[in-house]
């Protein structure tokens, strides 16, 4: 009996699914997302998959060993303000923590928006001030009680919040990660006073230093939990009724999977559930094809998202940016700019600009024929001949070349004094240059040179534009994975069960320290890590992982006391007791990593170091098949390449046009060429060629 491994990425517009059988064949499916019932979109893709295999949906689902998915439920609930009403309890004197926002009004904004002072305002607070109550208590930096908890005051505050309509309670007291007694007692009192209200404690959910982000993240999590639970219950119910027998898994922002019961406790950790899949997929495929340093580029309709894989590991951020809020939860780092197929081109003062305004999906680019009249990048791609009007989104939408030309002529060519073709090529040149600039910025900020990376290109428009922005960057290889159109879903299918446990326990070494193990006792570090590892292991086993399959990675957040940058430094894998040599080795590695990123001589060890947070990441592999080549690369004998004119470098030229079923392993394609895969158009530039590698990926290189 066949076994299937299934992964879906439920996006805002499309639901992408990959179905992998026990032999490693990967099937790719796409369907429109059903916003009110995400499971329906998934089932629609699986109906296609079942049909292709000549089985019923129920039969297929009954043979699914693992079902994993990414979702935008938490993201949308947060951005659309549909989350539950939180009542927040804070230390007396600090109830304005969320309102003050540490004084920042620029988080999550582009430079252009920051420069517009008259509209530069803070985002609304996650919890309105009227739903926050201060309670009498205080703990200091050493975890000592400065002011005891006033229990009557807590009762008063809980009743007040309940009376004002709180549906859940979040508790975030100062230094609660150093001493959680007050928060636990508050939870008991809430249970007595208002047993109907759920409670989230910052000391349990996120025991890390920094009260603003801890409070924000705890409150957001409390507000999302009930929403996510309702939604996941219904999702699971629908799939189970349709025949799924395994418990579904969900992708977290940290790039790992979790079971529903676990993820319900950490709802806020799923806000990047979808986008990170593409980075994980690139990591997976990159390692397979020998590319351990990868820039991932996802060009969609409205944004261009960039991630990095360094030495086979995705670059992580200690926070997750969602809208204009920064949550203190580790995430796979993804940076975005407003440059996509829907970015609108305009002319002002004779200056041609592209974006950041986007036509979105509605009305969309002019060529979609849905009422859009402004010219977009997609319109330029069509006018230039890169897009085939009859083969867009697998033929689901016929593009209107006339409308695209009119839009460009009216809004760009005439005002700028250019021909329609020159205007279209100008739009493409500008957007490609901007994307190259962003990739450069992301790599340079990490202390790396983009020419040391392979570019992975995916998303709706990435494979079409990568030949240009990749070449501009000087990256030696541009790789369009065979999974490009469903890359995030594929990444979700490549992920491991992951559990992160962390706690802040600030420790410092005095200036002039040479033996760091003296100030950072190995036994103390070991004890902290053991505690975290124990918790993480317990959780993974509860999620069904085999204890022996679990691997643990221990790391610290560390900085030089005289300087500002915090880095995450990993200790050797495993869970052995640390020695003095391990601790000194950790500091040495920190110096190395610091100078690698910030330049030789930038480290300032003489001032001492400071560890703030300890973290254990526990992972357990999810069963999966070994992938092999993909179905539609089976060469069709005798198929011949066609040509079509493409406007490139100021002139119309003939480009070779190939279909997916005309590709075969090891084949070389000379540019200028266009490869039309299902749902994806790949372009190979005039001075480039591409090789179809063993996995079915297209590897584009500058011709020697």
């Amino acid at each position: 009996m066949p076994t299937y491994y299934v992964a879906s990425d439920i996006g805002g517009t499309f639901t992408d699914t990959v179905v992998i059988d026990q032999d490693g064949d990967v099937g790719r499916y796409k369907s429109s997302t059903v916003p009110d019932n995400p499971a329906e979109g998934v089932l629609n893709t699986l109906v296609d998959a079942a049909e292709e295999r000549g089985v019923t949906l129920e039969e297929l689902l009954g043979q699914v060993e693992v079902f994993a998915h990414g979702t935008t439920i938490a993201t949308n609930a947060m951005l659309e303000g549909r989350a539950r009403r939180v009542g927040l309890l804070q230390t007396r004197g600090f109830g304005d923590t969320l309102t003050i926002m540490r004084g920042f009004k620029s988080i999550g904004l582009d430079e252009e928006d920051i420069k517009r002072f008259r509209t530069l305002v803070k985002q609304p607070t996650a919890v309105p001030r009227a739903m926050t109550e201060e309670i009498t208590e205080r703990v200091d930096y050493a975890g000592r009680v400065v002011c005891p908890l006033d229990e009557d005051d807590v009762r008063r505050a809980v009743r007040a919040l309940r009376d004002r309509g709180a549906e859940v309670i979040a508790v975030a007291l100062l230094w609660s990660f150093a001493n959680d007694a007050h928060e636990h007692r508050v939870a008991e009192i809430v249970a007595e006073e208002a047993p109907e209200l759920g409670v989230t404690l910052s000391s349990e959910f996120l025991p890390r230093i920094g009260e603003y982000e801890r409070t924000l993240t705890t409150a957001v999590n409390a507000s999302l939990r009930p929403v996510l639970k309702t939604s996941l219950d219904s999702f699971e119910d629908t799939l189970t009724k349709a025949g799924l027998r395994s418990g579904p898994l969900l992708m977290q922002s940290n790039g790992g999977l979790a079971t529903f019961p676990e993820v319900e406790k950490r709802a806020a950790a799923t806000v990047m559930s979808g986008p990170v899949g593409g980075v994980i997929a690139s990591q997976f495929l990159g390692i397979r094809s020998g590319h351990r340093n990868v820039v991932t580029t996802d060009m969609g309709g409205t944004s261009f998202d960039v991630g990095l894989v360094l030495d086979g590991l995705p670059v992580m951020a200690n926070t997750t940016l969602i809208g204009r809020d920064e949550l203190a939860l580790p995430s796979v780092a993804v940076r975005a700019i407003g440059a996509g197929a829907g970015s609108i081109a305009s002319v002002r003062n004779g200056v041609l600009q592209v974006g950041p305004e986007s036509a979105g999906a509605r009305p969309g680019p002019a060529c979609y024929g849905r009422g859009g009249e402004l010219p977009t990048v997609a319109d330029a791609d069509l006018v230039l001949g890169y897009l085939n009007p009859e083969n867009f989104l697998g033929g689901r939408l016929t593009l209107d070349v006339g409308k695209a030309r009119t839009a460009i002529e009216t809004h760009v060519a005439e005002p700028a004094g250019l021909s329609v073709e020159a205007a279209a090529e100008g739009i493409k040149t500008i957007v490609d240059a901007r994307m190259a600039d962003l990739v450069r910025q992301v790599t340079v900020e990490q202390g790396y040179d983009p020419t040391d990376f392979a570019v992975f290109a995916y998303g709706g428009a990435g494979p079409l534009h990568a030949f240009s922005y990749g070449a501009e960057l000087g990256c030696p290889r541009i790789i369009v994975p065979i999974t490009a159109s469903v890359h995030s879903a594929f990444g979700i299918g490549c992920s491991d069960l992951t559990m992160v446990e962390e706690i802040s326990q600030p420790m410092q070494t005095p200036p002039g320290t040479t033996d760091h193990a003296q100030a950072l006792p190995p036994e103390a570090l070991t004890a902290t890590f053991d505690e975290l590892a124990g918790r993480a292991t317990r959780d993974l086993v509860a999620a069904g992982a085999d204890k022996d399959s679990i691997s643990l990675v221990r790391s610290v957040e560390i900085r030089f006391r005289a300087q500002i940058h915090v880095l995450t430094v990993t200790l050797d894998a495993g869970s052995d007791a640390l020695t003095a040599a391990d601790v000194n080795g950790m500091v040495e590695r920190f110096v190395e990593q610091y100078e690698g990123r910030f330049g030789k001589g930038a480290a300032f060890l003489e001032g001492g170091v400071e560890i703030t947070t300890f973290r254990v990441v526990a992972t357990s592999p999810v069963p999966r098949a070994e992938f092999r080549t993909v179905a539609d690369h089976t060469a069709v004998a005798g198929a011949t390449a066609g040509t079509r004119p493409v406007f490139s470098g100021g002139a119309w030229r003939d480009a070779t046009v190939l279909r997916g079923d005309q590709l075969h392993d090891g084949m070389t394609i000379d540019g200028l060429a266009i490869v039309e895969l299902a749902d994806t158009t790949v372009v190979i530039g005039p001075d480039q060629d591409a090789v179809v590698d063993g996995a079915g990926d297209l590897v584009i290189q500058t011709r020697a």
Binding site: G93, Y141, V146, A433
Partner: protein
């Protein structure tokens, strides 16, 4: 200046423009990375690309006031040296020439192509210490420049690629923090090197001419855009005055021990040109508050960028139509040997307030641009620096960035930003309380937003914070405190909006606060504490905060926009619910009565507002005026929410914009047409102090008594006019 630089096509232009921006941010990132200095991370640094003539071509978002001194520095190098060669890097920090204060060290390098300078790259960062009488080199009690940090004249720190080690060592040795300064200097060189290399690549690829043409065109475009905006605005003279208060050295308490410096701004607008004239500012003096021409130009440039730069790319084009007039030797143009180490936040901030008021008065004549107007945006930098022995037994010194959390100014269409409305730093903020407590031996009693601290108005000024600290696990700490704005509000409102609250440093000696907390008795306010209570002078160079003492800093906040009586009562009720406005202020200033369940009591609100109007009517001094002029037809213009203007037989006649009653001809100044009343503590928000030499005056319509403008003016009478159109 440019000699026939080739035109660049629109596509190449846009590509190069974005790449220049990317090069600039790569230079900045490099400086930030290599430096690692906390000051750099508080964005007190910048990186810029300048034209061959030294105009700012590309600038990012940093602490804004020092930006303009980069252009001054390049122009200084060009004027002084005719032997500039490839591989040279210039240095300067002389505040009398091109810096706001000695801490701001600037490095600039020319970019040569084919033997010709085609651009300059520059970077600046506030150095943590460059010597002088006080650690940190911010010498609040210096009486001349020689007591302050080392002054570096314009010269070469690198000559043809070789570091001038003698100069380097001289500067580094004069700092208390050798390593940090040397590291920042290395960061400068790294940033300049990276940017130079990428600039070269850009020229190789697109041609030097195309790159130069792009830079020129970005400036020309911004200039043209600004001039077009200016042409839409009325010609005339617009004036606003702000004051800098400081201890007079007598040691007397209260207002008697505080003297005022005056910083009036007379702004003339003629066609597409703007002139800011500060000639009437108080003369320089050997004490706190002096700023140099660099600080003054920085203040004006910051305002121009933040007022007009929302729609126009930021570069020197925005300064081309601007002239700043002020003779040497004033408090805003101090010359040697005046002390200027505090010049980054002295009289230049007061100049920002007066110039900001003047610009707002001009913009408000235009329906299209009145939304660009805002009142004085940044009142004073409340330097709150503490040093001593920390809880780990090590010496520490730290500037608390909490002082940055002031409320922003209100606009015609929105309230001011609460706790973080700064204009001078658009992208900055403060650190978590927990991070501060982990590193320094000071326990916060509170960091909170102060209700009613933003000026009341139809749109409310932003509220700001107050934070209180007490030593823990140390015997005592010493505070270096310095600010102005304690005896008057610098943050006046617009069109009847009230001023925001004043700055304040307070100390309680022997409060026993930790014992009290230990006994489970919370502290809601300083007044609840035992001990010796006192307000500290604005300039307190060595404030001792011992174990058991409490220090509290309250920041200066934003002014309101429009008469508070016209604020939507529902918004007032929402502010009361959120704790932003107290029920007392709602009633007293807004005339809004909020019910027990948080709703608006409409009837009580209506009668309370009538009561306030009646009170204004009873107290006001009516204008002299004779017979009211008749007006025909529709008004031809208006001034914000205050005045309608009719053209009558060649004269301009103004009337109240609220009740549309004509008030009289504008010839003698609009002020003479309004009734006035002096505002007392009951008419102002809590925390507003008005020095005895000044009065808070409300100009109200003599008919409907709506407040049209509220200002602080000399008690002896206002000698200037808000505007005179030509």
């Amino acid at each position: 200046m440019s000699t026939a630089i080739a035109a660049v096509d629109p596509v190449t232009y846009e590509v190069i423009r974005h790449k220049l921006w990317s090069i600039n941010s790569e230079g900045a990132t490099t400086v930030e990375h290599v430096s690692g200095s906390p000051v750099v991370h508080a964005t007190d640094y910048n990186f810029g690309i300048y034209t061959a003539a030294g105009e700012m071509a590309i600038i990012g978002v940093y602490l804004l006031t020092p930006l303009y001194t980069g252009a001054m520095a390049v122009q200084e190098f060009l004027a002084r040296y005719d032997d500039i060669e490839p591989g040279d890097v210039f240095i300067i920090n002389d505040p009398y020439l091109a810096a706001m204060h000695q801490n701001d060290v600037q490095f600039c390098s020319p970019v040569f192509r084919d033997g010709e300078i085609v651009a300059w790259l520059g970077c600046m960062a506030h150095q943590v210490d460059l010597g002088g009488m006080d650690p940190g080199s911010w010498c609040t009690t210096a009486t001349d420049v020689f007591q302050e940090g080392i002054r570096i004249p314009p010269g070469r720190i690198v000559r043809k690629g070789v570091v001038n080690q003698e100069l380097w060592d001289t500067i580094v040795l004069n700092s208390r923090m050798h390593d940090t300064v040397a590291n920042d200097f290395r960061a400068f060189l790294a940033g300049l090197r990276v940017a130079a290399q990428r600039f070269d690549e850009l020229c190789d690829r697109y041609g030097t001419d195309a790159v130069r043409a792009t830079m020129e065109k970005t400036l020309d475009n911004s200039e043209a855009d600004l001039r077009a905006m200016l042409r839409e605005l009325p010609d005339g003279t617009f004036e606003h005055t702000s004051y800098l208060d400081r201890p007079d050295g007598s040691g007397r308490g209260g207002h008697a021990g505080i003297e005022l410096l005056e910083v009036p701004c007379v702004m003339r607008k003629d066609g597409d040109r703007l002139t800011f004239d500060f000639s009437g500012a108080s003369p320089q003096s050997p004490a706190y508050g002096m700023t140099t021409r660099g600080g003054l130009l920085g203040a004006v440039a910051t305002l121009m960028l933040c007022t007009f730069g929302g729609e126009i790319p930021w570069n020197h084009g925005i300064m081309r139509p601007v002239e700043v007039v002020a003779p040497d030797g004033l408090c805003v143009t101090a010359v040697e040997p005046m002390p200027v180490s505090g010049g980054a936040a002295g009289a230049n901030w007061t100049a920002t307030c007066s110039a900001g008021g003047a610009i707002a008065k001009m913009l408000s004549f235009s329906e299209r641009y009145e939304g660009f107007a805002f009142g004085p945006s940044d009142g004073s930098w409340q330097l709150s620096q503490f040093g001593g022995i920390d809880q780990h037994g090590e010496p520490f010194a730290s500037m608390y960035m909490d002082s940055l959390l002031w409320g922003g100014p209100a606009f015609s269409f929105r309230d001011g930003v609460d706790s973080g409305g700064a204009m001078v730093i658009l992208g900055g903020g403060a650190t978590d309380v927990e991070q501060q407590e982990m590193r320094h031996p000071l326990l916060y009693l509170w960091r909170r937003q102060v209700p009613d601290s933003g000026g009341a108005g139809t749109h409310r000024g932003g509220n700001g914070v107050q934070f209180a600290l007490t030593p823990i696990d140390t015997e005592e700490v010493t505070g270096v405190l310095g600010t102005h704005g304690v005896a008057l509000p610098n943050r006046t409102g617009l069109f009847g909006g009230l001023p925001g609250s004043c700055a304040r440093f307070e100390r309680v000696i022997g409060s026993g606060v930790l014992d009290r907390l230990g006994a489970g008795r919370p502290v809601g306010d300083l007044t609840e504490l035992d001990g010796d209570h006192g307000v500290l002078p604005g300039v307190s160079p060595a404030a001792r905060i011992a174990h058991g003492d409490v220090f509290e800093c309250t920041v200066q906040n934003g002014g309101g926009y429009g008469d508070p009586l016209l604020r939507d009562p529902e918004k007032v009720a929402a502010d009361v619910a959120a704790g932003a406005v107290s029920p007392d202020a709602a009633r007293r200033l807004y005339g809004v009565v909020v019910t027990a369940d948080g709703g608006v009591d409409a009837a009580a609100t209506g009668s309370r507002r009538e009561e306030i109007r009646a009170d204004r009517r009873a107290r006001m001094t009516a204008p002299a005026g004779g017979a009211m002029p008749d007006v025909d037809g529709d008004p031809v213009g208006r001034w914000g929410t205050a005045l309608l203007i009719w053209g009558e037989g060649g004269r301009s006649v103004a009337g109240c914009a609220h009740c549309r009653t004509p008030l009289g001809a504008l010839d003698g100044g609009w002020e003479s047409l309004a009734a006035t009343l002096t505002l007392g503590p009951d008419d102002l928000g809590g925390g507003v102090d008005v020095h005895e030499a000044l009065e808070a005056i409300a100009y109200v319509c003599p008919h409907c008594v709506t407040a049209l403008w509220v200002d602080t003016e000399p008690a002896s009478g206002k000698a200037w006019r808000d505007f005179a159109l030509t």
